[in-house]
Structures are given as structure tokens and as C-alpha cells.
């Protein structure tokens, strides 16, 4: 099982939309796929029409007596299962602190699932916390949606600095891609040129801003399932293709910033 974290310190950058659509594409390709909604807002859970509740709550889940199995829900799509989030996930950090090996808890919980799934996507909450550290330990690869704005680029730097400073995370593959791109904005166009020069590992797929993406909340299913020819849907497919190549080629380290000042 390959574990893919979709992560950014910043919120509102299109993490959930990417996680939901990539997980859908993975399952549609015949791969057994699990999407773990770790964000207490439970947006991914909502998109799949699953109730935002977890038997035993966050505490029960982390204690892991019954493993994750009891919490998993099948979605409307074959081979695509969801581990729903609930509001109590906001306390996950605190609860993790009480665990033995607090940064390895999620990895340990996921391990038994590797028999049941080919891919696991983690829809991560924003901010950098103990939950994020768990995600960095569990993931084989991090996908980082980046809106081509200064603030968003800054959080990418923060992330890379953080990973570089921790021995456990130095091997983690980080793949940024542009998300919610509005080509009418000059800043977007400029940064889309500049950032890949600084981070040569940037993926080529670029997810455009599309109001249809926001409508996932009305349709309550992945964009690709109801608007397969929408430009954003096409872009997610391109992203999926690049992701597959990256997953099969684990030796490549990408997104290491060149040694020069920002």
C-alpha cells in the first residue's frame, strides 16, 4: 500500500478537492483505495455523503483496540472506502501526546490496512502539528497544493525547512503542484513561472480555479464523477498520471529547493 498525504500548512488551497478526486481516480483504475479524512471539518466525508462520526470517537480510534476496520465506510464508488472524520478530530493533537510513540501512531494504525488497500490518501488538516508529524511519518509521498501567491509559496518553504530539520522526514518525497490557478491574475502567472525555477520538482499538472469544483458540495461526489470534461477534472487526471509515475519511481527526490536565498 502506498500512502499519499495531501498537505499544506495553509488552509483553503484545494487539499480536499485533490484528495477526493485522486482517490476516485485511483479506485476507478481498479486499485483498492482508502481515503482517510483527518480534517475535523470533515469536508471529504461530507462529499461522500458519509455521516461525520467515528465509533468510539477520536480517542477510541487512536487507542486502536479494534483497529481502523470498524470505522471504515464504503462510498458510492466501488473499491473506494472512506475513513470519516468527525469534529472531535480537533483534539487529535492532544490525544496523540498521550500515546506511546506519539509521532508514529497513524503509521501503526495504517499498517494492518496494507493488506486491504493498494493506495491510501490522507486528507490532512492545515497547520503544522503533531498530526502533521504523524502524516510525515506515515506517508510515502506528500502532495502539496500551492496557490500561486506569495503566502502560499512561503508555507511551502516553511514545510521544506521543517522536513529538512528532522532526520525522520528527510527522505520524504514532496511533490508541490499549482492549485486554484486563475490565469487572469498577473501574480498567478508570474509565480507559476518563478516557483518551478526554485523548486524543480514541481509537477506539471496545474489545477485551474473552477466554480464547478465548489459545486462538489451540491453534487456530493468527486468532480470527475459528475463533470468529467470540466477543465479541472482534466487537470486532476493529469495530476493522477504524474502521481502514478512518481509512486512507481520512489528513488527520485523532488522539490528540494535550490541552495539560494528567497
Amino acid at each position: 500500500m502506498k500512502v499519499i498525504g495531501i498537505y499544506n500548512i495553509k488552509g483553503g488551497v484545494g487539499k480536499t478537492a485533490a484528495a477526493v478526486n485522486l482517490a476516485y481516480l485511483s479506485s476507478a483504475e481498479g486499485l483498492r483505495t482508502l481515503l482517510w479524512d483527518l480534517d475535523p471539518q470533515a469536508a471529504a466525508t461530507y462529499y461522500f455523503r458519509v455521516r461525520a462520526e467515528v465509533k468510539g470517537g477520536t480517542k477510541g480510534l487512536l487507542r486502536g483496540k479494534r483497529g481502523l476496520d470498524a470505522a471504515v465506510k464504503g462510498t458510492d464508488f466501488e473499491r473506494l472506502d472512506l475513513l470519516p472524520a468527525e469534529f472531535s478530530f480537533r483534539h487529535m493533537d492532544l490525544l496523540l501526546e498521550d500515546q506511546k510513540g506519539p509521532t508514529k501512531r497513524l503509521m501503526r494504525l495504517l499498517r494492518p490496512q496494507s493488506r486491504s488497500y493498494d493506495h491510501c490518501f490522507l486528507d490532512c488538516p492545515p497547520s503544522i502539528s503533531l498530526v502533521s508529524e504523524n502524516i510525515f511519518r506515515a506517508a510515502d509521498l506528500l502532495l502539496v497544493p500551492v496557490i500561486p501567491t506569495t503566502l502560499s509559496a512561503r508555507t511551502l518553504d516553511q514545510l521544506l525547512d521543517f522536513l529538512a530539520g528532522h532526520a525522520h522526514h528527510q527522505d520524504l518525497k514532496v511533490l508541490p503542484f499549482f492549485s486554484m490557478v486563475d490565469r487572469r491574475k498577473r501574480l498567478h502567472c508570474e509565480l507559476m513561472q518563478r516557483l518551478p525555477e526554485r523548486y524543480p520538482g514541481f509537477l506539471r499538472a496545474t489545477i485551474p480555479y473552477a466554480s464547478e469544483v465548489e459545486r462538489m458540495g451540491i453534487h456530493r461526489m468527486p468532480l470527475i464523477a459528475y463533470a468529467p470534461s470540466n477543465p479541472a477534472a482534466i487537470a486532476y487526471r493529469a495530476l493522477w498520471t504524474e502521481l502514478q509515475a512518481a509512486l512507481s519511481d520512489t528513488a527520485t527526490r523532488v522539490a528540494e529547493p535550490l541552495p539560494q536565498a528567497v
Binding site: 461522500f48 455523503r49 471504515v72 465506510k73 464504503g74 458510492d76 472506502d81 456530493r220
Partner: protein
């Protein structure tokens, strides 16, 4: 707790539209697009996978081919792997859990299609109040096409509940609706079994094993005809596979049936008139001889890898020209065999033999033993043959020529066949134990004899390869090394023999023989002994 049955049969009066509306009246539904699928089921000719408790299927669904192994009892978890090509031999399947599962039971036999089913599946999603899918119901309309008998027809519509993970109570409620509210009958057998039954076929309907149920008081000639008819059926059923060379076991089973027929004719000969016995003995000897060359080559090819492995590493590649040489002669021999098995001569033999076996026995028979009760005759014949085995075996010394070992092997085989023909006349466990003892002895004698033949034959092949300039010196040396290795194995086989035969001669074993076949109150057993001595 056993898993709940998730599959139901629809009453034949209900069309699928009616089923969908019945369900729609009770649950919130959405229908997905219907899907066609094709299911081809495979097994070996002798149903080895079935006997091992499994069913092998190659399924085509949404342009994807999957190979699926499932347990007959539906209790074990099915295994699956991609199946880009049609299965042939288990060893040639792509890597995966299905290959691992079927490799052993299928062995060297070819996987043949035994049944085809085309299905159109309507899929209903059962929804909760958020329109979330909480379970699915698949409605399968299937049609079978029997690739063997050519029959086809519709099967009963099946409904399957496909649970969605994490929605157990919704699954149970769907099951309750189908079995309770709609009163549907649970489907307890896999669709393929229903298809086989509809096509008038039965899994496991071929076995090369002898299995007659005989009446001890029935007259001998009539019983022997029954036995010979069974052997003829086996022989004939293997002809198409042997002609097409689907795998090596068709010819092997055919040859065993011929050998058993010849053995029955000679060992129980006084039940038919002499000219009849003489004629058919000669005809079946002809058949046995014409099937010999291909079988010899089959044995080499089946053993080749182990031959090669038995040589020191550096010599192994040099044996390869021998395989090429054997293969280059194989097609010619196989063609000759296929022609012979399609010839008028063969068809006449089989047809006339069947006519003879079907002709009712005469009220007053000419042959001396024809009207004897079969049990008495069986006792006498088995007793005689067991005595011969004891005599020949005792006479063997470590220096005895291979030919003497071979004579003993032939006698053991005759004894084994007699015991197998008449197995049902004796207490099952007792006779099976003695047959098993003989099988062990025969395996040993068989290995000894095979090596004797193979070493001679390998030498002959080496001479021919040299004459045809098909062998480098290294190849001839490798063949020499192989012969040396085989002769060493033969020596250890002979050492084992002494031990195994001692087991056969123990008082305990002989007592078991006497208990089963010991002198029968019917004194005419002596007459059989007389004819034996005169022969």
C-alpha cells in the same frame, strides 16, 4: 457463526422489471447502468480442481479479464489475479494467488473449458436519506453455453446483495426484505453447478479409477463384460484428447485402460470362448504397441527437467540438444498416433469389441468358468496370482537380471488389477490396504524398470544423435553422465526392493491375504489352478 447467504433465486414467473419495482416499492433506489459479463469455467479432464474443492473461472467484465478461484462450499475467500490470456497449463499462468492455488491439483493436466455463462447484471443502489449508497442488489440474468455438449439455455435469475463496508445493518435489512417480504429462495449452489445440471452434466463425471459395484453371486462372464465395458468407456473418452494431444495424461489413461483390458482378458480368460479371447488379446496388444512411442517421448519430456537437475551444473546446458532432438521427433510420432486412432482399423476394433460386450451372455456357456459365481472365481484368480508373486519374488537375488525383476512387476500389476476389478466384493478397508501395499511395491519395481528401459533408450538416442550429427561431444558426455546417475538410482531402488518385498512376505500380510481370498468352500478353485499350470 456462518456467513449469511447473500444470493437468492427469483421465481421464474417474475421478470426482472417486476423484481425492480417490487424492491423499489420498499426502498429508495437508484439504478446503475447494466453490465454484461462473460464467465468461462475451467477444470482438468479428470476434474482435479473440483476434487480439490475449488472452481476456476476466467471472467470478462468491463473489458477486464480476471482469473478467479473459489471454493465449492463458498466458505473460503475467493482468490483472483489478472488473466490476460486463456488458461492452458497451471504452470504457464501468470504469477498470482490463483496460480499458487491450482498448481498442485492441476499438475501436468491442461485446464479445459467446462462451462460458459453470459450474464447481464442490473445493479440497484439502495440509498439512505442522504442518498448515500448503503447496499447494492445485483440482478443477474444468465445464459449458459456448454462448450462440451453444445447445449445452451437460460438460467434462473439470481439476486445478489452486495454489502457496502460499514453498513452491516443495512445489508441485513436488504437480506430480510428479499427473503422475508419478497419470499425469495436462497441460492445455495454456485451458478456454474446449476448450468452444468441444466446441460445434463455432472462434475467429476470422469475418473480413470476403477469403481464397480458387483454382486458376488452374479455369473462371471456377465460381470467381466461389465468390467470390460467400463474400461472401454474410459479408453474411448480419452481418444479425442490423445489425438489432439491436449496433455500427456489422455494417452496415459488410454494406455492404462488398454493394459487393464488385456490383463482382464488373460487373467479371467475362461469366461469367454478361446478364439474370442485370443483375437482381442492380439488386437489390444497392437493398440498398446502403437501408442508406445509417443508415451516414451512424453516420459522423457516430463522427466527432462529433473534429469537435467540431476547432472552437475556445468553439464546441464549440454543436455539441451537431447530435448531438441526428442521434440523434433515428437510431432511425427504424434501424427502417426493421431492417424492410427482415427483409422478404420481402430474404429472397427472398438465398435466390434463394444458389440461383443453388449451381447447378452449365452444361457449355456461354452467357456469353463463362464457361469461360476464371480466371487468364487475372483478368490481363486487372486489367490493364484498372489502365489505367483510370492514365488517370483522369493527367487530374486541382488544379482538377478533386470528381466526377472520385470517379470515380477508384471505379475504384481496383474494382481493389483484383479484386486481393483473385484474390490467391491471384499471389505473395503481391508482390500484397499492390500492394494496400497502393492502400489508401493509397484512404484519401486516401476522405477527400476523405467531406468532399465531409459538407460537403454538414452544410449540408442545418443547413437542416433551422433549418426545425424546432432550431438557435440559434450552432449554425448552429458548423456553418459545421466546414464551413470540413473544406474546409481537403479541400484538404490533394488536395495529398497528387498525391504519392501520382505514386508509383503510377512506372516501378517499373508494372513490378511488369506483372510480375504483364502481357500473358498467352492472346490472348483482348484480347476482355475489347473488351467494356470497348463498355461
Amino acid at each position: 457463526m456462518s456467513a449469511p447467504c447473500l444470493e437468492f433465486l427469483a421465481p421464474s414467473r417474475l421478470a426482472t422489471d417486476a423484481l425492480v419495482s417490487l424492491i423499489g416499492e420498499r426502498r429508495r433506489l437508484a439504478e446503475e447502468r447494466a453490465r454484461p459479463s462473460v464467465h468461462v469455467f475451467y477444470d482438468t479432464f479428470d476434474w482435479a480442481l473440483w476434487a480439490d474443492g475449488g472452481i476456476l473461472e476466467r471472467r470478462k467484465e468491463e473489458k477486464v479479464f480476471t482469473l478467479i478461484w473459489s471454493g465449492i462450499d463458498q466458505g473460503s475467500e475467493p482468490l483472483s489475479q489478472p488473466a490476460p490470456t486463456e488458461p492452458a497449463f497451471a504452470a504457464d499462468l501468470g504469477p498470482g494467488p490463483v496460480r499458487e492455488r491450482v498448481l498442485n491439483p492441476a499438475g501436468i493436466r491442461r485446464l479445459l473449458p467446462v462451462m460458459g455463462i453470459r450474464t447481464r447484471t442490473r445493479r440497484l443502489r439502495l440509498l439512505d436519506d442522504e442518498d448515500k449508497t448503503v447496499a447494492r442488489i445485483a440482478i443477474d440474468q444468465s445464459r449458459f453455453e456448454d462448450p462440451v455438449g453444445g447445449r445452451e439455455g437460460d438460467l434462473r435469475v439470481r439476486l445478489r446483495v452486495l454489502p457496502v463496508r460499514g453498513y452491516d445493518s443495512e445489508r441485513d435489512s436488504a437480506l430480510d426484505m428479499l427473503s422475508g417480504e419478497l419470499g425469495l429462495e436462497p441460492a445455495t449452489t454456485p451458478t456454474v453447478l446449476e448450468a452444468l445440471a441444466a446441460a445434463g452434466r455432472r462434475p467429476g463425471d470422469y475418473s480413470s479409477k476403477i469403481d464397480f459395484s458387483l454382486d458376488p453371486n452374479e455369473r462371471a462372464d456377465s460381470v467381466v463384460k461389465t468390467i470390460l465395458l467400463g474400461l472401454l468407456d474410459t479408453l474411448e473418452r480419452n481418444v479425442p484428447g490423445a489425438r489432439a494431444n491436449l496433455d500427456s495424461e489422455f494417452l496415459h489413461d488410454l494406455r492404462v485402460a488398454v493394459r487393464r483390458t488385456r490383463s482382464a482378458l488373460t487373467q479371467i480368460r475362461d469366461v469367454f470362448p478361446d478364439p474370442v479371447v485370443g483375437h482381442y488379446r492380439e488386437r489390444f496388444t497392437w493398440l498398446q504397441q502403437l501408442t508406445g512411442p509417443v508415451r516414451d517421448l512424453d516420459v522423457y519430456l516430463l522427466e527432462f527437467d529433473s534429469y537435467q537437475q540431476s547432472l552437475p551444473e556445468p553439464l546441464r546446458p549440454h543436455l539441451e540438444p537431447l530435448r531438441t532432438f526428442i521434440l523434433s521427433h515428437y510431432d511425427g510420432e504424434q501424427r502417426r498416433l493421431a492417424e492410427a486412432l482415427g483409422s478404420q482399423e481402430f474404429t472397427d476394433l472398438i465398435g466390434k469389441w463394444r458389440d461383443f460386450l453388449h451381447t447378452p451372455v449365452p444361457e449355456v456357456a461354452v467357456a469353463a468358468d463362464a457361469e461360476r459365481p464371480i466371487k468364487a472365481l475372483a478368490d481363486a484368480r487372486i489367490r493364484r496370482m498372489a502365489k505367483r508373486v510370492r514365488r517370483e519374488g522369493r527367487a530374486l537375488t541382488p544379482q538377478s537380471p533386470a528381466a526377472d525383476m520385470h517379470e515380477l512387476r508384471k505379475s504384481c500389476k496383474k494382481l493389483r488389477y484383479l484386486m481393483e476389478f473385484f474390490q467391491s466384493l471384499y471389505p473395503g478397508d481391508d482390500i484397499r490396504a492390500l492394494v496400497k501395499l502393492l502400489k508401493v511395491l509397484l512404484d519401486n519395481l516401476g522405477s527400476f524398470q523405467d531406468i532399465a528401459v531409459q538407460t537403454g533408450h538414452l544410449r540408442e538416442l545418443a547413437v542416433r544423435m551422433r549418426a545425424e550429427h546432432k550431438a557435440e561431444t559434450d552432449t554425448l558426455l552429458a548423456v553418459g553422465a545421466l546414464i551413470g546417475d540413473l544406474l546409481a538410482r537403479q541400484r538404490s531402488t533394488r536395495e529398497e526392493f528387498a525391504e519392501l518385498f520382505a514386508e509383503f512376505l510377512t506372516d501378517e500380510t499373508q494372513q490378511r491375504f488369506r483372510a480375504l481370498f483364502g481357500r473358498h468352500p467352492d472346490a472348483s478353485g482348484d480347476r482355475a489352478a489347473g488351467t494356470e499350470a497348463a498355461a
